[in-house]
Homo-oligomer: 137 residues x 2
């Protein structure tokens, strides 16, 4: 089973523009073409695009993702680099998770803050907090 660029765009929720851009940036050296020059995506190409999306979500810029793609072409001699890269990505994502949890903590506090203000009809119910410990702001 193969896919057109439009099929893949739908599957991965990207635009065809984005996919062509990725190709231009060297992220899709394994995608073959028809006689007429149309891209033909194999299952393995879609899987690799999934990994690319994963690396992007981990905060990796496209330039760095291209290095990884190049390592793939170089075979077993780059196994160590690729391993190291994923280990490094893992700790980057762990850090992001911590940050996101802090963000969540503050947002949940604000939900409570505005819920109680709405109940009271005015934000003034929190006025005294500003003199207090600061914990409840």
């Amino acid at each position: 089973m193969t896919y057109s660029i439009g099929d893949v765009a739908k599957k991965l929720n990207l635009t065809v523009y984005t996919l062509r851009y990725y190709d231009k940036e060297g992220l899709m050296p394994f995608v073959e073409r028809t006689n007429g020059g149309k891209r033909v995506f194999k299952e393995s190409d879609v899987e690799l695009l999934n990994v690319i999306e994963c690396l992007k979500s981990s905060g990796m810029p496209i330039k760095d993702i291209r290095n990884f793609i190049e390592w793939l072409s170089e075979g077993d001699s780059t196994l160590q680099q690729r391993y190291d890269m994923f280990v490094e990505r893992k700790s980057a994502v762990e850090k992001q998770m911590e940050e996101l949890q802090k963000t969540m903590d503050l947002i949940e506090h604000k939900c409570w803050y505005y819920q109680t203000a709405l109940d009271a009809g005015t934000e003034d119910v929190h006025k005294s907090d500003k003199i207090g410990s600061g914990v409840f702001n």
Copy 2:
């Protein structure tokens, strides 16, 4: 206690350029000035900048953050909007957490994949996986 723009930049790990940019974009209407025109940040300004950073981390664009800042100036009449905004942010962050967990799952799988490949000295140990269920790829 008050702070100069440089103090605040250090405190929040931003550049003074960024802070001036935020000001230009309308995120800092409450910051006062000296006779000479220098910005003077109060504790409450720093706290608001913390909330701004939190909203940014939640994926909110600066334009939308400005709306929130405007609501602050409008007092109790915008309590509902502000509450709704934080509730919406909360679900946005929940979604991000889920996405990040999926990213982590794939990255951890890749760590395992490359660890075993390194142990074997070749990626070929995973060759059969491609014919299998796909679970171990």
